[in-house]
Amino acid sequence: MPIIVNIDVMLAKRKMQSKELAEKIGITPANLSILKTGRAKGIRFDTLEAICKVLDCQPGDILEYKAE
């Protein structure tokens, strides 16, 4: 998929673990893993909002378009 999810990069920048992020945004670690590995079919605006809020970033920091 040409949409890349860069949550790992932002997590590293904020020195935060996936488990902590999952807890703070209210999704399961399994679902966060689906999101991080690019297996998700989509992302809800409220999930995106929660991630941006917790990681203090913009949606563009998390999502990236790379042509295949």
Binding site: N31, I34, R39, G42, I43, R44, T47
Partner: protein, 172 residues
């Protein structure tokens, strides 16, 4: 699912399980009586049998006393309805589960569909070859066939539902 659907499906599930148990118990009781001769008597010079309620002389099951009739017009029918109501109950149970569209649901519907499409027709064919049939039997075969087609279509909808559910689960 809303409360009305859950209530109706739960009621139908328990009713079907009860009917299934009843039919299977009748089948088992009839086999026991026919094999052992207990609570059974022959009438019309051994042409007809009467199975009575246990420990009473009240007639319960009546039929022709010959093997093809007993097998294909009597035991096969009661056993089939025992199985039919068991499967119907399993289908109704799907509608009050927290998740309606599941692989198990598709499996149950396919089983119910296959049973209705093929078993009555096969039973009718066997009975037609080895025994005599009443006209209503063919009507019943047709009703079961139509029910089987509906269940088959419902299984296809459930399959689509499972796929959509899977995709929905991947929207985080």
């Amino acid at each position: 699912m809303n409360l009305a659907v859950k209530t109706v499906s739960k009621t139908l599930y328990y009713t079907c399980r009860l009917l299934s148990l009843g039919y299977l118990a009748i089948t088992a009781y009839a086999i026991f009586c026919l094999l052992s001769g207990a609570w059974m008597e022959l009438q019309e010079g051994g042409r007809r049998f009467v199975i009575t309620w246990p420990f009473s002389g009240t007639p319960f099951l009546l039929g022709h006393y010959n093997l093809p009739y007993i097998l294909f017009d009597f035991l096969l029918v009661t056993a089939f309805y025992g199985w039919f109501f068991y499967l119907a109950g399993s289908v109704f149970r799907l509608f009050y589960q927290p998740r309606v569209f599941t692989e198990n649901g598709v499996r149950q519907l396919n089983r119910f569909s296959g049973t209705n499409l093929f078993l009555p027709a096969a039973g009718w064919l066997l009975a037609a070859i080895f025994s005599s049939l009443e006209k209503e039997a063919l009507l019943l075969v047709a009703v079961h066939f139509i029910l089987g087609v509906f269940a088959w279509l419902l299984a296809a909808i459930f399959k689509q539902g499972v796929n959509l559910q899977g995709e929905q689960d991947l929207i985080i």
